[in-house]
């Protein structure tokens, strides 16, 4: 009776207890563009979930919904069993203290050294003795291999190093949820592998739930446990990356195969070509 049924929890990754983030019926219109038209999504606890999709499908917007930076037009968003759209600003800030967020462009504070950047969340929220702050920051910098760069300024770092510093800062307070917004963009293969390895190690050793937004399927395939493919305002496909790569749907074929034309059109919607060129419509 009391023994949990292991197969049940594996069979239903979408159940409330197992999902760290749960999204139901998400609708968002930005300007006159429909970004999300009924998106349902579950981010399982303790796993790395990748969210993929063509540029402009609103993956970053989705992350902003999850962290409560942007209100959706309709739909339910629950993070760690908290109803995000209904949280007060104070509660939202409390929630965010448990979320680490790695920005696309690292977003290090230009006025502060690497050390102070990583120490920033600690200094802002906790009153710790300088000794302890120093130890925590140095262990985190050591984890990303940049303890030696502690006194450098952000302007002196390469893109890959900045990304790793931002990673150290994002995880300084042991978040329950890590969000990586395109962590591989603009990195050379070496730096990409370093970041990829860090994400995987962090997840395995600390049991953090991770959301990974990325374009690079090869990298995602090595890191993620679960992939959501979002296109046309809906979840086009989801599942284990290997399984998804095998699946034969027009979306997955185009996206993972990198075909120029398909469900994601090559051409921007336009008037009839002939009309635009000045010929009468329907002329031969």
């Amino acid at each position: 009776m009391n023994t949990p049924n292991p197969s049940a929890s594996i069979e239903s990754p979408g159940s409330t207890t197992d999902a760290y983030v749960q999204i139901r019926g998400l609708h968002t219109v930005l300007g006159d563009k429909v970004l999300f038209d009924g998106v349902d999504l579950d981010i399982p606890r303790g796993k790395i979930t990748a969210i993929m999709g063509p540029s402009g499908t609103g993956k970053t917007t989705l992350l902003r919904h999850i962290t409560g930076q942007l209100a959706a037009d309709a739909g339910e968003i629950r993070v760690d069993d908290k109803d995000v759209p209904r949280l007060s600003r104070k509660q939202l800030f409390d929630l965010r203290e448990g979320i680490g967020y790695l920005f696309q462009n690292s977003a290090l504070l230009t006025d502060f050294s690497v050390f102070e950047n990583v120490a920033f969340p600690l200094r802002q929220h906790l009153r710790l003795p300088e000794e302890i702050v120093r130890n925590i920051v140095l262990t985190r910098l050591q984890a990303v291999g940049l303890r030696g760069a502690a006194e450098l300024m952000p302007a002196e770092l390469s893109g890959g190093m900045a990304r790793r510093v931002a990673l150290a800062r994002a995880m300084i307070r042991d978040p329950g949820l890590m969000i990586y917004d395109e962590p591989f963009v603009g990195l050379d293969p070496i730096a990409l592998n370093q970041v990829l390895k860090l994400i995987r190690t962090l997840n395995d050793t600390l049991g953090i739930t991770s959301i990974l937004v990325a374009h690079e399927f090869a990298a995602v395939r090595r890191a993620a446990d679960h992939v959501y493919l979002i296109a046309g305002g809906k979840v086009a496909a989801h599942g284990h990356p290997d399984e998804l790569a095998e699946r034969d749907s027009p979306w997955t074929r185009q996206f993972f195969g990198g075909e120029a034309d398909g469900p994601v059109p090559f051409e921007y919607p336009a008037r009839d070509y002939a009309v635009d060129l000045g010929f009468p419509a329907g002329a031969p």
Partner: protein, 255 residues
């Protein structure tokens, strides 16, 4: 066509003013939280105040010198050169000190506030703070706003002091006015509260307005390099206009 365009321009301007007003309320609401960021406020006073000292002192000296020179020749026509010190001090304390300092402050400190915050917006630093559960209004904007209010009157006082010294150098050392007449006449005609301190209030108000415009422009700039460039220009243009308009209103009510 042009009518509707003008209509939308007026609408845009009104919307901007309204948004800036709401932004002011947001800053004031974030004020209590920014008490924790006292150090950051000090740092901003250093950046906007102490870093503007050189330009303020140089300009103050020259304004005082040229004012002295111009007024000397004008007063000489009426045989009233004895009033030189008085006239220089009154025009500096009541008008030129606060206004010229404000215009210089907008150009020197206002633009750097806008560019700095705009760049923080463009490089996601503000969002990063939001995500680290740090309110950018309390950590970034409010300290700069307070720094503007604190630094401006101090800078205006330095400007005035240098202006008086410049006027003294030209009037007494160069044009040969009597030293005692210069100071004596000045001190018996200039009132502390109605002349000097009113100017200080004025400059504090200008500091608040410039800091509000500069932080607002930076905070709401489109996150592109072009957007930041435009926002910096708009900071100088709008704060110059608002300072001069506010100067008229305050002068009419205060004095």
């Amino acid at each position: 066509m042009s009518g509707s365009r003008r209509h939308s321009m007026i609408g845009d301007a009104l919307a901007q003013v309204g948004a800036a007003g709401l932004f002011l309320f947001a800053i004031l609401a974030a004020m209590p939280k920014s008490v924790r960021h006292f150090r950051e406020t000090l740092r901003q006073i250093w950046f906007v105040g102490a870093m503007s000292l050189v330009i303020i002192m140089t300009c103050g000296l020259f304004v005082g010198m040229v004012l002295s020179l111009q007024l000397y020749y004008t007063l000489a026509k009426f045989g009233g050169t004895a009033a030189l010190g008085t006239v220089v001090a009154l025009s500096l304390f009541r008008e030129l000190g606060p206004v010229v300092t404000a215009l210089l402050f907008a150009g020197r400190a206002g633009t750097s506030m806008t560019a700095e915050i705009g760049l923080m917006r463009a490089t996601d630093q503000l969002s990063a703070m939001e995500m680290m559960a740090v309110d950018p209004l309390a950590y970034v904007v409010a300290p700069r706003f307070i720094a503007g209010i604190v630094a401006m009157p101090l800078l205006a006082c330095v400007f005035n002091a240098l202006g008086i010294l410049g006027a003294h150098a030209v009037g007494v050392s160069w044009l040969g006015l009597d030293n005692g007449t210069f100071w004596g006449n000045m001190s018996s005609n200039v009132e502390v509260w109605s002349d000097l301190v009113n100017g200080v209030w004025k400059s504090a108000a200008f500091g608040a307005v410039i800091a509000l415009i500069a932080t607002f422009q930076g905070y709401t700039t489109p996150p592109t390099s072009e957007g930041v460039a435009y926002a910096t220009t708009r900071t100088v243009v709008s704060s110059s206009i608002v300072v001069l308009a506010l100067d008229f209103v305050m002068t009419a009510f205060l004095m």
